[in-house]
């Protein structure tokens, strides 16, 4: 029982860190605000929440579980709002979309 719980918890944490890795890579590699927003918001929601769920599994039924659930709730709310706010203000400020340089210039398959 305990071993199975550890395995599940470890797997969830690994998934979470994987999303963090992918998200950070995307943040570094993507060319403009909107495309960067896409991976970086995944970090908080998917990555951090997976880690938290993993920790919740690890801790079992205890007082920590309650705290972890609250943290997860606030994380989901705040990171989604944050992504929305950044995206919206970037859109309203007319920050230009990224367009592929070179062959395909022009027509709007940007972002």
């Amino acid at each position: 029982m305990s071993a199975a719980r550890d395995i599940v918890a470890g797997a969830l944490c690994c998934i979470g860190t994987f999303f963090f890795l992918v998200g950070t890579t995307g943040l570094l590699r993507m060319p403009d605000v909107f495309t960067r927003l896409h991976p970086s918001t995944k970090c908080d929601t998917l990555g951090a929440c997976s880690v938290i769920v993993g920790m919740a599994v690890y801790s079992g039924w205890s007082w920590e579980l309650c705290k972890l659930v609250v943290i997860a709730c606030f994380l989901l709310l705040s990171s989604a709002t944050c992504g929305h706010a950044i995206g919206r203000s970037a859109l309203r400020r007319n920050i230009p979309y990224w367009r592929r340089q070179g062959k395909e210039t022009g027509d709007g398959n940007g972002a």
Partner: protein
């Protein structure tokens, strides 16, 4: 040229530092000088000597309380310095919030912030009051209050937030941390001990531990309030400058 020189200097420094690291005591070893010299006494006797369960709080506020007094003075000094450079906002000068940014905050963001800020402040109160028995304390709690006001101000603007925490409230509380520290220190003097001794002068022997714990909590609250107000005042001073830049630009 300057670049090459500085690169060379940094490389030399880096090699020197790595060389030191290689000859430092091994990390995490229970036999290093750091783990054997002063620490054992702190860890074993802190609870009975400082009446706090959290040894870190005991070290910060009691054993090394003078450092912390210097530290709250640093915060106060930072505020005085920022105000000396930028100038404080005049009383009643902010007449209304003119949203100069091209993008006013959306309803979603406003609702979320309005929903979250009370929880954040609740959490900071918890952090301040529980610093004595769990991770946390005045500085952390104060920083959390400051952070909540930063969120609030970015979304609702300077007018709204300075109406919530007006200068009337902030100004007297900014120095509270230093004053509380000084009062506690002087209390120790009155009791016949040295400065910063946590003790009530003529309390009954059995009551002393509880009173010392309450003094610790009092200092934590003072630090929390003072730190938070300093952060908020610095924020407001900076925002006012930003708005003036926007006006002149």
């Amino acid at each position: 040229m300057k670049r090459v020189l500085s690169l060379f200097f940094i490389a030399a420094l880096g090699v020197l530092l790595l060389y030191v690291v290689a000859s430092m005591p091994p990390m995490g070893d229970p036999q290093t000088p750091t783990a054997t010299h002063v620490i054992p006494r702190y860890l074993e006797r802190a609870e009975e000597e400082t009446h706090t369960e959290n040894v870190i709080t005991g070290v910060i506020l009691n054993y090394r309380g003078y450092d912390t007094m210097g530290e709250v003075t640093v915060i106060f000094c930072a505020l005085a310095a920022v105000l000396a450079v930028l100038g404080r906002e005049r009383r009643g000068r902010i007449r209304g919030f003119v949203d100069r940014s091209p993008v006013p905050s959306s309803t979603i963001v406003r609702t979320m912030v309005r929903f979250m800020v009370p929880f954040i402040i609740l959490f900071s109160v918890y952090t301040i009051l529980h610093g004595e028995i769990s991770p946390g304390g005045g500085f952390q709690g104060g920083a959390i209050i400051g952070g909540s006001m930063i969120i609030f101000t970015t979304v609702f603007g300077l007018y709204e937030s300075s109406r919530r925490i007006p200068q009337k409230v902030r100004a007297p509380l900014e120095g509270s941390a230093v004053i509380v520290f000084f009062l506690v220190g002087a209390l120790g003097l009155v009791g016949g001990g040295n400065f910063l001794t946590y003790a009530w002068p003529h309390a009954a022997r059995g009551l002393q531990p509880a009173l010392v714990t309450w003094l610790t909590v009092l200092v934590e609250v003072g630090i929390g309030l003072g730190g938070a107000m300093v952060l908020i005042s610095i924020l407001f001073a900076m925002i006012r400058e930003e708005e003036e830049i926007a006006l002149t630009a």
